[in-house]
């Protein structure tokens, strides 16, 4: 809640603020979906400021445990905007994404990604 996340796709939004984590009592982590409100947007984008959107967390500064026991952490908190079905709104994804997304069935985001960490 109230966390401002960067948007790493070309859907038009630049910054969103989390208003609800869809899963988890303690909040959303890497790979989870959130409901967010767009705080900052590009002038000609698919998404306008003030819109309520769904997003998938693709970068999280908090470390997430991996299956082999190691932990991964990223530089900042970022999200890719999706629709209710989980399909990304934008057509490009910038920066690295974690392969935790494969487990969460966000395959489309993985295919669009430049680099899978």
């Amino acid at each position: 809640m109230r966390t401002v996340l960067k948007v790493v796709d070309n859907s038009g939004a630049k910054k969103v603020m989390c208003i609800q984590a869809l899963k988890g009592k303690k909040g959303a982590r890497l790979g989870d979906t959130i409901i967010a409100s767009v705080k900052e947007a590009m002038p000609n984008g698919k998404v306008k400021k003030g819109k309520v959107v769904y997003g998938v967390v693709v970068l999280a500064a908090m470390q997430r445990g991996r299956c082999d026991g190691s932990e991964v952490k990223f530089d900042d908190n970022a999200v890719v905007l999706v629709d209710k079905q989980g399909q990304p709104i934008g057509t490009r994804v910038f920066g690295p994404v974690p392969h935790e997304l494969r487990q969460k069935k966000h395959v489309k985001i993985l295919t669009l990604a430049e680099h899978i960490a």
Partner: protein, 191 residues
């Protein structure tokens, strides 16, 4: 070096997760160059998609402080740069990163495991020899200094009677200037 396809079953809370094809790779810590075994350390992914592996929080914290490992004395990077540790050796060729997975062959696996042990021993022997050779000149110097010190301070080692009897073990004559002011100050202290 050899990749095995490992079937790992993990229990995460309530649900059971079947994870296949998770290869295990021993990484090198970015800061101190020690091996990071599975289950240890943190991986940091920068926004330009460069991945940094750290073996423990010490290295991670040094990284966050923006310290250059080449300037931090206890890291392998510093030691190699300053010639403290062996840099060029044929045994290092075996450890280069290979991205092509090998098809599992039992004989190959067995031979490789034997070879790993042997190469490890050879490498560590060569590395310790390198250090020994490096320290050799210092050792000779220290022995020379010790000999000189013995000559000067023989009276601390041998009894005065032995010194008197054996004229070769005599003290070298050293002149010490004692000022008048010093002797006057000392007297009240003695009482």
């Amino acid at each position: 070096m050899i990749s095995d396809i490992v079937n790992v079953i993990f229990c995460l809370g309530n649900c059971v997760l079947l994870v296949n094809l998770r290869r295990m790779r021993l990484e090198k810590c970015w800061f101190c160059s020690s091996t990071v075994y599975p289950g240890h350390g943190i991986q940091f992914v920068r926004n330009d998609a460069k991945i940094f592996h750290f073996c423990r929080s010490k290295c991670h914290k040094n990284f966050k402080m923006k310290r250059n490992p080449r300037k931090v004395k206890w890291t392998k990077a510093y030691r190699r740069l300053h010639g403290k540790d062996m840099t060029q050796d044929s045994t290092f060729e075996f450890e280069r990163k290979r991205n092509r997975p090998e098809r599992y062959d039992r004989n190959l696996a067995e031979n490789t495991l034997k070879a790993i042990k042997k190469i490890d021993k050879i490498r560590s022997d060569r590395a310790s020899d390198h250090i020994k050779n490096r320290l050799k000149t210092g050792k000779v110097q220290r022995q020379k200094e010790a000999r000189k010190q013995l000559e000067l301070g023989i009276h601390l080692v041998k009894a005065p009677l032995a010194l008197a009897q054996d004229s070769s073990l005599c003290l070298p004559k050293i002149k010490v200037n004692v000022s008048q002011a010093q002797t006057e100050e000392n007297q009240p202290m003695e009482e």
